[in-house]
């Protein structure tokens, strides 16, 4: 089902046949700017020059540094991401997602979901 799959220090990233990129953060990760840059680089490679919607499961994250958040909401990430659905199934991930959404104001549409299905459904609106 997955066409390509990559792993970084903090997450596993794969591109689904539906054209949606799926990112799952490893358990108990503390994401720094370097991690963010690695993840976006992987994302860019998967997308191969096209903007794609992405679903990110923040369930394993324990923290994301301010630099990393700014990088995810910045110009480089916006070049590859057309929409982002954040799966926030735990209190910590909900805090992280809310902060990202409220304080970092990314340049692409971002929404928080607790259900992957609803997230996929929403992302498909931005489908390839």
């Amino acid at each position: 089902m997955a066409r390509k799959r990559y792993q970084t220090q903090t997450a596993e990233t794969l591109l689904g046949e539906d054209g949606i990129v799926r990112v799952k953060m490893f358990s108990d990760t503390r994401e720094s700017l370097a991690d963010a840059k690695e993840n976006i680089a992987v994302f860019a490679r998967l997308c191969d020059g096209r903007k794609r919607p992405v679903m990110i499961d923040l369930g394993g994250s324990r923290s994301i540094s301010q630099d990393a958040r700014r990088y995810y909401s910045g110009e480089e990430a916006g070049r590859h991401i057309c929409a982002s659905a954040l799966i926030v199934g735990s209190p910590v991930s909900r805090v992280l997602g809310s902060f990202f959404l409220g304080l970092n104001k990314p340049a692409y549409p971002v929404r928080l979901f607790t259900s992957e299905a609803e997230a996929i459904k929403w992302l498909k609106e931005f489908g390839p």
């Binding site: 923290s63 540094s65 199934g89 735990s90 209190p91 910590v92 991930s93 902060f99």
Partner: protein, 818 residues
Amino acid sequence: MTQKPVEICQESLDQILDLILRLASGNLEARLEPSAEGNELDALAVGLNMLAEELGTSVREHKHALDSLVSGEKKFRTITDTAQDAIILLDNDGRITLWNPAAEKIFGYTAEEACGRSVHTWIAPPEYFESYKNGWSKFRDTGQGPVIGKTLELQARTKHRGVIPVELSVSSANLQGSWHAIGILRDISERKAMEKSIKEERSVLRVVDRTLSSFIGGMEAQAAFDSVLVELLRQTDSEYGFVNDCRIDDEGKPFMQALAISNIAWDEETRRYYDENAPDGFKFYDYDGLNAVAVVTGEVVIANDPANDPRSKGLPEGHPPLNAFLGIPLKRGKKIIGTIGLANREGGYDEAVVERLELFWSAIAEVIEAHQIDEARRKSELRMEHMANYDGLTGLPNRALFNERLNYAAARAKRYAESFALLLLDLDRFKDVNDTLGHPVGDALLAAVGERLKSAVRESDVVARLGGDEFAILQLGLENANDAAGYAQRVIDLLAEPFVIEDHQIHTDTSIGIALYMPGESDPTHLFSQADTALYRAKAEGRRGFRFHDAQVEAEVRQRVAINEELHEAIAKKQFVLYFQPQVDIRTRRLVAVEGLLRWHHPKRGILGPCEFIPVAEDSGLLLEIDGWVLKEACRQMRAWHDQGLMGKAMMSVNLSPLQFKTADFEEKVVAALKEAGLDPHSLELEITERSLAERPDDVAKVMKRLDARGVRFSIDDFGTGYSSLQYLKRLPVSKIKIAQEFVRDMMQDASDASIVRAIIRLGQELGHEVVAEGVETREQLEFLQDTGCRLVQGYLFGRPQPACELTARLRKGGDYV
């Protein structure tokens, strides 16, 4: 998925409280490590950590921004405070919100005075109000306007310096949602003054260039100085002025000479002033007035109230009004070589005018110096030339120059067939004067002789001292040899008058040798030797006389001189007589008139005809006297014949000379002669020549008409030989025309003469004039005339000119002229 409720333990709460307290104390680096459980307390910790991080970053960034702002403001203030140009910020309403120190300096208003005021109505001159008003509403909306983004020069009003020129660059900026205008303004007063100064300097340089060019370009010096003065008046807005240079006269006295003097104020009064005060080419020896102060002191003179200026000595009568005066000394190095005077500039003169034209003053001084040097050189050349050509003692041309003039006269005489005379003279016994009274007296005598000779000649003639006591005169435009003789005699008489030199009365005589140049007759190259030979003969023959080189000329001249002297005697001793020749009517064979003809009963030479003495009488001025006698005598004789019952209705015919006819009292004299003789005017006929008529036809006509009205008749003598005009035959009261003898004499041999005689007779008949044929000597002539219709004749055939007594006897015998 449902989450299990978190069990809150005291320790966790303490940890969270501790974190908050640390953050509250300013430790924004404080963090709380969440557990791996990821429960709500962990989420709280993560949230607090993130808030702390955001807050820390925000505080850092704010501080950084604030630092940056303060730094920017500091830089901005540094720039605006130290800028040389005024920086003015205007808000949306055109009110000043920024006014830097340079603006304070330029405009003289403090920032407190300036801020809040409308720039448009405050520092902009009134002429800009309208354009500001029209453009500002658009600027308010768009930040655009006609001056935005441009740099322009305009005028601005200042607190203390009036209106000044400024350079303004305007830009716009949107600050906090409204458009502001930023003006950077530079005071360009100095630049403009510099530009003006450069422009004026260039203008002066052009003037200087023009001035120098007028001298270098060969313009005549006077015209060049006149143009300099005109330029001076224009450059200084003066009414009139002068350019003087300083000179030293021959006696070593300094004076100022006007090289140019303006005639702007040359009304009648001013002209009289200059005529009276500068008769010798505007030379001023008086250094005691405003016009000379610059020369005396070497300083510029500015007198804007000359009437009350202590340096002024007042104005002479007739001087043009003087309201302001500028005197400029013209210097070359330290030497003052002249002065410029300018008058009546509106508002007076100032240092600025003097400084502005500094180059011009220098240029004028330069050309005056060059002029003085040039003039000195020319004077020196003239002096040298004079010394080479003139005699130092008498100032007369020397031998070299005289020879030159003689050659010129000879060439001219040859070309134009003119005559001239060369007179050589020396003083008799001059050596005695030198030997007895000394050379200084001798020299003074020579100088005095030179003066007398100069006074005796015409301007066109040349008098020279050839050396010693030898003088020469070139008498040009000679009519005949007699002119030279008369002239020589005048010179002899003139020098015979005693000279008074150093209390010595010196008598000296002179002898003169004359050589004549007559075109085609003499050779001019030999004139000197000829005159010298003649002089030698004059001296040899007894001094105080003159001799001609040519013997025949000599004889003729002697004869004329003798006749001249004898004519005076003839008048005094009544040696003139009238002969009478009859005019006869060939049809009636009766006498109709007698022509009175002048003869001179010369004591030695017998009876002389008029051609032998009338030319001399004419030259000597005796002719009129003789003419007058003829008229009176003819009238007297006619009256005598009438008293004796002779003559009947015959008339007395008298010839008038052209000179006689020209005299103003001619008419009076005719009337007086008639009255004195008691003769009826109808018995007198005056014969006039065509020449008399042609010279002054209108005047002659008037006289003739008045005498005709009295009864005097007129005939035209020698008709056909002069300047014939048929007009006067028609217009004038002529009763008779006389055919000249020369036509009558040859008419029997010359068909042309015969035709002329016929034509004259026909003409007389047509116009109703009587025609007299003169010189009739033969029967053939008489018959021809008779056949042609001529009635009156005169000639040997009927009687030669004869004394009154003979004619009286003939008349007494009676009978016709057959």
